[in-house]
Symmetry: none
Subunit: 254 residues, 2 copies
Amino acid sequence: MQAEERQKRIEEHLAKVEFASLDELSELMDASVSTVRRDLDIMAGKGGVARTHGGARLVNPKSDEFTFSARDTHQLAEKEAIGRACAELIEPNQTVIVDAGTTCYHVARHLEAKGPQVVTNSLPVANLLAGSNKLEVVVSGGVIYPRLGVLVGPLAVEGFSKIRADAAILSCGGITLEGISNSHGLLIEMQRAMLAASRKIIFCIDSTKFGRQSITRLCDLDVIDVIVTDKGAPADLVRALRKKGIEVIVAAVA
Amino acid sequence: MQAEERQKRIEEHLAKVEFASLDELSELMDASVSTVRRDLDIMAGKGGVARTHGGARLVNPKSDEFTFSARDTHQLAEKEAIGRACAELIEPNQTVIVDAGTTCYHVARHLEAKGPQVVTNSLPVANLLAGSNKLEVVVSGGVIYPRLGVLVGPLAVEGFSKIRADAAILSCGGITLEGISNSHGLLIEMQRAMLAASRKIIFCIDSTKFGRQSITRLCDLDVIDVIVTDKGAPADLVRALRKKGIEVIVAAVA
DNA sequence: AAAGATATTGAAAGATTTTGCAAGAAATCA
DNA sequence: TGATTTCTTGCAAAATCTTTCAATATCTTT
């Protein structure tokens, strides 16, 4: 087997099990431990996986909202439902900011029919909507954050500071009663700019994010107008959010 | 079996299995390993597949992306040659502006090895290079011009006004002794901004553009440092350009 | 159709890369 | 601490790549 193929299979295996020992991988790949070790060193250099003594683990757990892949089938039905429900909140001919992340990507898939103007810093979203002749797509500038296909940095922040939108559709790494948090500092900067540019703030948060906290704090709950989630969201937290005046929409899987 | 047929079958096989070894392909095609190796080299040059040690893999089949440029096979070999020759003009770790257009797209395919910083307003180029971890890709902001996947408009122009690059790689709709011209007013604006931001101006112009004029005038010839073209370029015009002090590189088809 | 030119193919030799192994160093665990 | 596991390093074997060359096939020209 070739090195690249082996590495891809290692990555796929890690996506399933999170942790794997060298012996385990060696046996699975039918290669010596040395070879697996070298593969992991290469993969660790590129990011994505991290070495541990005796094995490796995935750097970004699979539930991380921002490890983007259009093929990501994790909780696909739920994300699809959230996407559809969220798109319904948008009225025709509005200007909408769409964040990066798989959940927001699914929202974008339903936005074309609305014919609004869409502003995004996500390459996948831009690609998705570029072919449409019903809506105008504005891309923020910025540096490509490689693995995720997100535009970040000063140019991106500046791009959003220049516009006003009717609504912003965001996602995040975690939500608790203390507020919203996310995993990458660069993304936080972007999202702050999006929040500042929009009249209505909509968060699309699948149920696995409830009660979790990511490394960086984004904002308080009171800036949020609407949260769209799926059935798995814990009832007590949903109740508490509603008591705070936030409209919480639980999207039903079709 | 014909070379083309073999290559097509290799591509089809790779579409199924994603990775294939040389031996595997050799057996499947009933051809020697040497021949398969040569086929793969050619195919890798054109894109679509990538070599690995001992085999080949399908280049990321990102279904949703803008790959229209790659599919444009009009004068493919010439554009490919121009792309390779043009990329050789870039020195390691330079900042390069890459324009939209199919010819520039082929230049971008050869830029990864150079490891520079790339600035572009082309979504296809951005997508192409997004996966690379060797170079940093900066995307100008702007509105997506649908058919071409180019970012245009004030945000885009502004993005370029903020940067300085070592070189700009541009294409155009036509070149005569009176100057360079292009077809869309919006693109002209962008290109003016690119010209202003760069120290060295390189135009990639396939031979069919020589002696032609498009609707809008972009610039005089004297802002140009280098022109890269293919063998079909009329000799008298090439001579005249050289007399004006422009370095004209005629790329040989491999 | 024949002769020469050109292109393609398969094979072989030498260079390069990858792989597996083993010994000593470093880290982990009881 | 001592015992065990894992890591690093160096090295030789195997696989693969590059280059070259002769044989074959294809194209051009007459």
